[in-house]
């Protein structure tokens, strides 16, 4: 008689499990499909979440935490805009805690503003590069917390006054590094200083300075860093003031400024007082909402799929009680039984995640075509596969443990 032979490497029972599975295709297919679709949804959702998060994390260029803005609308016959703006700004800049204040036509990330096209050559036939326009005076760079990385700031004497319906533009501009590189892709951004660009097809403006970074009002615009500063104050009925404060002073100053401005002139009303933080929160609300919804969907979906696996596995353990008892009687250890169910699930999950990989790519292609999303980075797929594998293994562990506790004596019981 042969005594216990040298144990070969752990025996996974691949063949018998597969053959048994083929006789119970439907259950296995159902789980595999669930895993595949769950993976498809989860991977694409995670990808969307990551992309949206990236958008939200982009540097706006301004001091998000310590800036706010408001609009002063004049009414009444005697309201003089330029004088009021001059008085207001003088007062605001003198306020303790205010770093700087400007009048501007638009506010970064607020989703409303002006855009123009700049050209490197004069004439209607040349292509223009779209850009957001912020009209600011010589305090603009300081108030917006941007850095001049080449050239220089506007001088006080550069600042002109824009009237309603005015068509022409000042002859100087400061543009962002991104804008400089889009206009002149072949030269170093620093060398763009001194170049002439054309607005309204033919009106020349000389680039006097380059700033590091500043975002346009429209957060979903693909060229969100294309920005130009124009040295102007505006004599519009509604004047927007943008104020940057010392850290921690914003909220106090918001109240204080509202009161000061309202009391200084009864020919106007103050509206739209809002911090940049709140503005960004509003502009990105769609993103935030999408992220939260997708996260919820992913969590629930994972739970549903896991519960489905637990349910079907428990059922199959119950169905196979006698068989498990017999296997135990024939010499299977508890570990062997656990391994059997885990491996069975692993095989089903493998089919699921392979199918899931294909479906994930298909859904991504559909999303790319229908909704203009970017193509999925490849590494999301293996990570997704791994996660679903783990979910499957975790879900089946409980039922497998239960199976292992079925006593071998069950084999001799006639149920």
């Amino acid at each position: 008689m042969k005594q216990s032979q040298p144990q070969t490497s752990t025996n996974w029972e691949l063949g018998p499990i597969l053959r048994a599975m083929l006789r119970n295709k439907v259950g296995a297919i159902l789980i595999a499909l669930q895993i595949a679709i769950t993976m498809t949804i989860i991977v694409n959702s995670v990808y969307i979440i990551v992309e949206r998060n990236k958008d939200m994390q982009r540097d706006s260029g301004i001091d998000n935490e310590n800036s706010f803005y408001l609009t002063s609308v004049g009414f009444g016959e005697n309201f003089n805009v330029p004088n009021t703006v001059e008085e207001d700004l003088t007062m605001l800049r003198a306020l303790p805690g205010v770093i700087d204040a400007i009048q501007t036509n638009a506010v970064p990330n607020s989703n409303s503003g002006w855009s123009m096209g700049l050209k490197t050559q004069s004439g209607v036939e040349h292509d223009a590069v779209g850009t957001a326009v912020y009209m600011v005076d010589d305090h603009g760079v300081n108030a917006l917390d941007v850095e001049i990385i080449a050239g220089e700031n506007f001088a006080p004497s550069d600042i002109s006054l824009r009237t309603v319906g005015q068509v022409d533009w000042p002859n100087k501009t400061i543009i962002t590094k991104a804008m400089a590189e889009n206009l002149f892709p072949d030269i170093n951004y620093a060398d763009v200083v001194g170049k002439t660009v054309y607005i309204n097809d033919i009106d020349p403006m000389v680039v006097v300075g380059i700033i590091d970074k500043l975002q346009a009002p429209w957060v979903n615009w693909s060229n969100v860093e294309n920005v130009m500063l124009s040295p102007e104050r505006q004599s519009f009925k509604g004047s927007r003031y943008f104020i940057r404060t010392e850290p921690g002073m914003r909220d106090t100053l918001m109240n204080q400024v509202e009161e000061l401005l309202a009391n200084s002139n009864n020919q106007r009303l103050i509206k739209g007082m809002r911090s940049i933080e709140e503005t960004r929160e509003r502009s990105y609300r769609g993103h935030t909402a999408m992220i939260k919804i997708l996260t919820t969907v992913m969590v629930i979906l994972t739970i549903v799929t896991a519960l489905g696996i637990v349910g079907l596995a428990s059922f199959s353990v119950n169905q196979r009680k006698k068989q498990i008892g017999t296997r135990r009687a024939l010499g299977a250890t508890q570990g062997t039984i656990i391994r059997y169910f885990m491996f069975e699930n692993f095989l089903i999950s493998s089919i699921g995640v392979l199918l899931g990989a294909v479906l994930t790519v298909i859904l991504n292609v559909i999303l790319v075509n229908a909704f203009g999303l970017d193509r999925l980075d490849w590494f999301y797929i293996p990570i997704g596969m791994l996660v679903l594998w783990l979910v499957g293994q975790a879900a089946v562990f409980g039922p497998a443990k239960k199976a292992a506790n079925i006593p071998p004596a069950l084999a001799t019981r006639t149920v």
Partner: protein, 438 residues
């Protein structure tokens, strides 16, 4: 017999409470997720003026840059008109009703010291606006044609404006100071929220209707600011507000009412002729291309339904699919567990059809319970949407009767569909094999 099946369904429910609960939960989650997104999409794409949406047309004319189309899409036409064209077309009166319109705003200074001045949004339009869009009036009515042509300072107030300025009383004939001028109130409209706000979708399709309505012709006199979108392909010829109005910048919407196909064809002819005559004046440098869009075509073209909403709807359908696969698996497990009972029933003379009916009823019960629970989850989901997106979706996140029916139908149909295969399997159990081993 049906009642007996219902009774059996609940017995079976009780015997396997965890499995049954899992199925109900899965269906409820799937229905909840889908119904939440379906509701939002349904309300976003709702017909705001169903009884005449096919007689109202938004006009598009290609007045754009000779070198570049309005946008990259070949078929794209400018989404608004110039002040000049909208005014000319309205004055031509070639449609049953017509109105150029745009959005503006001004300060209202209520008389009497207790109320402070406030800023109000204005819809500038012609008198036809009210009849064309069936605007309901609380007091008074629209201004007349003469007010349009004589540029009279008359105004129609929204119900809310009337409340804040006149305390909600009948204010017809009263004086109100807007943008520093004296206006006479001619009408107060009743609550009128169109969803989507189809007549001006490119300035916020889900925004509220304006607080004031006044003759479009006053825009020029009062130099009212442009609150909506303004796009230009060439800068105005000359300085000042008048030059801006007469520029090639587009900032005006134009709607006409055309009662039938003949009127529609005639109007398009007229429109083409108008553009030809403008071409002779050196305008409209692009090829002749004009279009009339009825309300729903316009909503579609302007992509009023948010892409995120559509995307979430498709994802939620996939979610429902996973939940249904889950249910199929669990039903299969449940029915297989019952095979001895089924064998017994077959052995004592039940037909396959009986067994089939019994189990379809059982599945439908699970689906119905899941559907009702799903409706509850839909309410939770819609509440979640409201809290995530803020006030502007309030009207987009409400459940109406038809949506409730849709939810229950989807729950029932999908659960029965999920139950078909497990039921079929249950019916095909051989009676003998099941009795032997008991």
């Amino acid at each position: 017999m049906f009642n007996y099946y219902i009774k059996l369904a609940f017995k079976s429910f009780k015997r396997n409470p965890i499995l049954s609960l899992l199925m109900v939960t899965a269906i409820a989650l799937g229905i909840g997720a889908s119904m939440t997104t379906i509701t939002v999409n349904y309300l976003m794409s709702a017909n705001p003026i169903p009884h005449k949406s096919e007689q109202l047309f938004h006009i598009q004319v290609d007045s754009w840059d000779p070198n570049n189309p309005f946008n990259d899409d070949d078929d794209a036409l400018p989404n608004q008109l110039t002040w000049t064209d909208a005014t000319n077309l309205t004055h031509a009166k070639k449609a049953l009703r017509q109105s150029a319109m745009s959005m503006s705003g001004a300060i209202i200074e209520p008389q009497g010291s207790e109320s402070k001045p406030f800023e109000a949004s204005i819809r500038l339009a012609y008198t036809d606006f009210f009849a064309m869009f069936d605007v309901p009036f609380l007091y008074g009515g629209p201004w007349d044609n003469n007010s349009d042509s004589n540029r009279e300072q008359v105004v129609v107030l929204s119900k809310r404006t009337n409340e804040s300025v006149f305390g909600g009383e009948n204010s017809i004939g009263k004086d109100i100071v807007i943008a520093g001028r004296h206006f006479q109130v001619v009408g107060v409209i009743d609550t009128w929220e169109v969803m989507p706000k189809f007549y001006d979708v490119n300035n916020g399709p889900f925004n509220e209707t304006e607080e004031l309505f006044m003759p479009f012709s006053l825009k020029e006199d009062l130099e009212l600011p442009n609150w909506g979108n303004n796009s230009c392909w060439k800068s105005p010829d000359g300085e000042g507000y008048a030059a801006f109005l007469r520029s090639e910048c587009i900032n005006t919407q134009m709607w006409v009412e055309l009662p039938n196909a003949q009127a529609e064809a005639d109007y398009l002819d007229f429109l083409n002729n108008y553009v030809r005559s403008q071409k002779e004046l050196g305008r409209f440098p692009r090829p002749l291309h004009n279009r009339l869009n009825d309300v729903m075509e316009w909503m579609e073209r302007q992509e009023v339904v948010e892409e995120d909403a559509k995307m979430m709807m498709w994802l939620s359908f996939m979610f429902l699919l996973v939940c249904l696969l889950n249910t199929i698996g669990l039903l299969l497990a449940k029915f297989t567990g019952k095979s001895s009972e089924i064998g017994l029933r077959l052995a004592v003379g039940a037909s396959k059809a009986d067994v089939f009916k019994q189990h379809i009823v059982e599945t439908a019960c699970i689906g119905l319970v899941g559907g009702v629970a799903g409706l509850g989850l839909t309410l939770v989901g819609l509440q979640g949407i409201k809290s995530l997106y803020g006030d502007f979706v309030d009207d987009l996140a409400t459940l109406d009767a038809s949506m409730i029916v849709v939810a229950l139908v989807i729950a029932l149909v999908s659960s029965i569909a999920a139950g078909l295969y497990p039921t079929w399997r249950a019916c095909n159990i051989s009676p003998a094999s099941q009795l032997k081993n008991q």
